[in-house]
Symmetry: C2
Subunit: 139 residues, 2 copies
DNA sequence: AAAATAATGATATTAATTTTCAATTTCCTT
DNA sequence: AAGGAAATTGAAAATTAATATCATTATTTT
């Protein structure tokens, strides 16, 4: 982890209240605590946050993930589940097992460059990108 | 256009009622009629369909796009708009202008192959993929 | 043609997210 | 430090895309 959410907030002028700090912590720790491919939805975040401070409302969780997302701190995913799922914005891609729902994260420099090249070709500067691969395990 | 929705339905065992046929037609014509980057949501489809047959209900539009999607005829997009948007499933990608919302469609063989290669590297057979590039126009 | 099956339209329901609003906390200005 | 403005919060209501229900209509099957 290169930069903490707190630092990113400071840099982006996002004020950190007690509630936001706790929510930030839960998100930061979600990978370490719950495994590599953890992409919690708001309900799940609310559950985890509640264990730290049971008075935090789900409205605040919704407000905070939105705030963090708009500040570029979090990435919101709309996988097929219907609920939005969140994680730290660290520029990786996802390979999703359509049988099990397992999510594998990957980074590929070649893809990154190719995407930049394509945007460039159409006269655009690439500022964000989303790549999801759906596959079935080969036996 | 290589294959009509009607043909795809027949091939996939999807029955075409009058209502479905009209909805299929509206979707097929959405590009020609409304320009290159047309990705209508259900409300918009309902509006267009209603001009042809005002008795078709929005429930039927919802049911039909779901049916077509499950048959692999349509692709459902969850862009940032909140509403799902639909178009013919023809395996292209999107470059979205984050200032104007304009959607540019593109196909890139190199990206296609690279994606297959990555899935393969993780032991998966690629069955679907979604790539969205977000950019700002260079001046 | 009669019975069974499927699809439709209208409406109710669900569920995620947003909004409202009064209360509390934080931030300014003096 | 005090007082008032501004921002944030919790609880609850509102919104809204999408789905489910159900009586009616259309299509198949016998
Ligand atoms: Mn990247
Ligand atoms: Mn492809
Ligand atoms: Zn991830
Ligand atoms: Zn498209």
């Amino acid at each position: 982890m290169l930069e903490t959410i707190e630092e990113k907030c400071q840099k982006n002028g996002v004020k950190l209240t007690d509630q936001r700090r706790i929510i930030a912590r839960v998100i930061s720790e979600s990978k370490k605590t719950y495994g590599e491919s953890d992409h919690p939805d708001v309900d799940e975040l609310y559950n985890r946050v509640s264990q730290i401070d049971s008075k935090i409302s789900i409205a605040t969780v919704y407000r905070t993930v939105k705030l963090f997302e708009e500040a570029g701190i979090l990435t919101k995913h709309d996988f097929k589940s219907g609920k939005a799922r969140y994680e730290l914005n660290d520029d990786h891609n996802h390979l999703i097992d359509i049988k099990t729902g397992e999510i594998i994260e990957f980074v590929d420099q070649e893809i990154e460059e190719l995407q930049k090249k394509i945007a460039d070709k159409y006269g655009y500067k690439l500022v964000d990108h989303k790549l999801e691969l759906y596959g079935i395990k080969k036996k």
